[in-house]
Amino acid sequence: MPEPLTFSDRIRNRRPLLIIAGIQIVLLAFIATRVMDIVIVEDSREVVDGVETITLRRELIGDPLLFALAAVGMALPLSSKNLRREPVMLLTVQLMIVALLIFVLWPVGQIFVEGFEGSGGDKRFSLENYQRLFSRPMVARASRNTVLLGITSATLSTLIGAVVAYTLTLTDIPWKRILRVLVVLTLVSPPFAVSFSFILLFGRRGLITYDLLGIRAWSIYGPDGIIMVQLISNIPLAVLILMGVFSSMDRDLEDAAEDLGAKTFRLLRTITFPLVTPALLTAWLLNFISSISDFGNPMLIGGDFQLLAPQAYIQRVELFDPQLSAALAVLLVIPALFAFALQHWISNRKSYVTVTGGARTGQIRKLSGWFKWPLFSIVLFLGMFNLLLYGSIFVGAAVKAWGFDFSLTLRNVKGLLIAIGELRNSLFVAAVAGVLGGFIGIVLASLVTRRRFAGRGALDFAGTLMYAIPGTVVGIGYIIAFNAAPYLLTGTFFIIIVAFAFRRLPVGLRSGVAAEKQIDPHLEEASLDLGASRPRTFAKVTFPLLRTAFLAGVIYIFIRSMTDLSAAIFLSSARTQLFTVRMFNVMVRGSPSEAAAFAALLIVIIMLALGLLGRLTGKSFVDLFRIT
């Protein structure tokens, strides 16, 4: 039997508890000083007998609510016994909760708060904005346009993506290797570069429309242009998702159906299609979110076709109506969240495709020429078109004046020198955001896959939430949340880095979770069992084994941050100008050739980053973007 504890034993046992309590208090105090401050303000001023008396009073500024939420968030994991026993784990979980609270939930929540505030600095709850909003024809029009565009764009890109994916995985068309790369090429370009090259080719002085076909009356600017650009940008995602499904589909099922007498079309309709339905829905929903969130393309090519994301920007930056802008952001974020929730629900259900083990998968079908060659032409056309888009950017950068003078020059490349400061800023911000987001993603992934504690589900949710939030909304939310004392972060690199890191965190998190699930959980247990602490286990076992996922996350976030415009345009300031913002301004105002040089440089940087990824991890860019 163990002997009764002496007094000193009891103190010794209590010491870890005291240390934890101490750290908790210090951490809370730190958060408090970050989000709140007490300032001394003038209360009244009176002059009696020539003596002026100024009464001062203390006033609390900042967000006591955020502090209260942080305190609650920190208290949550304290309820788990196994975390209380391990101070380092407890602290890590708490830091993650506080970080996600401050940098994800709070800024997004601010959109809703500001949207409901009265105008002219009146902080009380009011529906005034929404009354004002709905009294404007623009709002109704922009909402309707956004939803219709989203549905059209998502439907078309998913259908075309399905055809392309089917052709590339299950048929015997030639040149598959190169076509697989070409059809997803636009994944790695800044999204609005696609609309820019559309303008080069089909614009008012477009190479194809003006010079080749001599068309004068038709204009690319408007809904048709946006849909085409979005198709080109979104088809690759659908192709990747569906290629994954088609290549893991059990060939025996199709053979069985054929054996029972089903011909090609009936086969597709009765077997192939039902099997891929969940993946089709996923692709549709993700493309819907991507379409309604799109900011750069409509700004460049949308003409006077009004959409929510660009309008939210215009209201805030050009018309100085922040409340209306926030209200528009709310209208934008609701369908996006809805689509995201639906996608989450679908992906959590069991899919048909993965049920069978040891099946014959991804086997090639021999198609008759009547099916084969039309399918091949569609894929070939798409691949060639992508190549043409990229080619036009590089050619555009090399000529004097696109559309007028096609003689070669280095002037545009030299012109990039004026943006060297912006380039440096962007590289710095994207690199730091990449490492930060990648690291948080991996830590979070190992917490949510390996540990059981109160609030784990909430942590996972908050870590993934940003996937659904349009960049415009992130930008506006960050500006609202962090532009007042005491945490005046607007205009700093810090806010941009944090915004980029947390905006792309979902992909880092998901790729980390996928990688964690590949690792035998006994490895981490063996390390603990041999006496290594949790942090040591993470550093020596977990992290080295997740290295590939980490690097993929870092490079993904780096590329997405390098090419981000929708959030960057709100967050970059005179002191922290970013390359994409400068490029966007040149595209809108400068000469096409000048702008083409910017886009070309960005594409080269992305290619280099992807090359680095290949060298470090052996993964291709297709693997990188397959993470959804």
Partner: protein, 360 residues
Amino acid sequence: MASEANFATASIRLENLSKQFKEILAVDDVTLEVEPGTLVCLLGPSGCGKTTTLRMIAGFEDPTSGKVFIGDEDVTEMPPYARPSAMVFQSYALFPHMSVYENVAYGLKARRTPRSEIRTKVREALDLIELEGQDDKSPSQLSGGQQQRVALARALVIRPKVLLFDEPLSNLDAQLRVRMRGELRDVQRRLGITSVYVTHDQEEAFSIADVVAIMNQGRLTQLGSPLDLYRRPADRFVAEFVGLSNVLPAELVGSNDKGADIRVLGQMIHSRLAPTDPSASISVVLRPEAIRIVSGKDSGIPARVRALAYIGPIARYTVAVEKDGTELIIDLSNPSSDEFYEEGTSVQIQLPKEVPALLS
């Protein structure tokens, strides 16, 4: 490992240990004492709670209630890295990004052992498992048996007070399994280290353990030496689990302090132990090798051969009793040509005259 004598070992004591996973009570009020130096096998079908029990000893699962003691120390609240136990995993859990040497040195490095001491100890451990000179290989270059030995060396090198084995041999092929369990047993005996060994393989458990603890549906059903369990199973589950058994209903004819007389399929059998509750319905366990097939007429119970299989040196018959169709399994060892009964043949069977105990 040169100084095997001063290997400090300790007892393990589980007190009313329970573990609830959502709706499932995985471990139900298990109390168990493992004497220093002995090897206890937790034996049971999958899902019986044996692995969960082991993981609570290692500290990977928190008990819902109850306590775990290693020696006199209550380790219930201790994280795994602070416990004086070391585990050998079913998947070996060798770190794939480290060499054999680094794997074995891992626990010593975590303890901040001086580098020169680490080198000596790792060398000693690799010698012990006969893997000297393989330091720089990566685990994936080793065979299954070698990986198994590295996992054992990695656990032993930190001088744990108790060793825990989680189905350590189930990833090996049948022959290697038999050889490795002999090696494991040797090392455990030589070091005299208290061990808990989880397996679902009855033969493995019986060949390696000092004491076998049978678990079923989270509960500890019976505890005893392998022979005890085979001779006197406490209930039908144990009887069937520790070996192929015929469990038959019996009719109690009379009982006294010297035992009991029962009637089974019309034949009288004497039990050396009387049932505790004479009014309850009783049954008897008849081992397949205890039943005989006899050739002479009217000398036994008429039955008909249903199926026959040769399993190594044993002929296993399935017969149905003519009277009520009760199916029995009978093993005949050394089947010779005159003891051969084809399917469909009518035979006479004879039950044993005496059994050690009854099930109630």
